[in-house]
Symmetry: C2
Subunit: 136 residues, 2 copies
Amino acid sequence: MCGTGHSREDGVRIGELASRTGVSVRSLRYYEEQGLLASTRSASGQRHYTAGEIDRVALIQRLYAAGLSSRTIAELLPCVHSPSEENSDAAMERMAQERDRLSAHIADLIRTRDTLDELMVINRAHRESLQMAHSH
Amino acid sequence: MCGTGHSREDGVRIGELASRTGVSVRSLRYYEEQGLLASTRSASGQRHYTAGEIDRVALIQRLYAAGLSSRTIAELLPCVHSPSEENSDAAMERMAQERDRLSAHIADLIRTRDTLDELMVINRAHRESLQMAHSH
DNA sequence: CTAGAACCTCACATCCATGTCAGAGGCAAC
DNA sequence: GTTGCCTCTGACATGGATGTGAGGTTCTAG
């Protein structure tokens, strides 16, 4: 009577997760292959995801964008979702390490942006001087 | 009497430039192939670089690190070194565009760093609570 | 002159997240 | 049933900066 068929909390399929997160189906399967993302399988083998996986995918994307490799992300994620002594131990260190690397990278990018700004200022100056010379 | 042989300003060879900039010889040749770097050739075909090229290589590296492609860098560099009306015209726009992209990327990275910080805080909290429970 | 280091070109290899395609099966609607 | 869309696995392709090696020339030190 009310449509979609699965009324219980058995989660969404991969296409749905893809469109919700903006990540391609291909990439979601890849994440699973790399151990970044878990899925429960239906009897016929189709992947099902819970609402929590949406946030997880978002986090994965952010970490990718920050330059972490899938291997590194795989090291950090378990620490995120089940903070026990075991994984915390080494993962915390890597986490701090990646944080520092990221921080350094940000500083570097800011310096590069400043350089670009300077170049643009210089160029504008040249431009104006040319225009002046033109309309002497 | 004073060593190196070439007393005039005929510049350094590629190995020297590589060690001065920390960029591999392979990459320097690649930069030239992409039109990012100029070199004068000796009679026998060996590349010679002037002191200015050192800075240029450094800038190229910075732009690469900022996520620009060699094609984009190639568009910007002429504008940097010879700011005439022609190249300024389109290149300035691209420059502003890349600057904005970079700015957005920086903001994104900062948010990701904050996320990492939060995760570390949470983890530390879990850790301490575990330790407390352990030494009840 | 000669040995070794540096250089040349050309070309193929690597990494890694994604894209893309093929062939097969699952699921809902008509 | 059949049509159409979604999903599955597996495999090959892509792009871009860089590594690496072969085969040959050039430079420099002894």
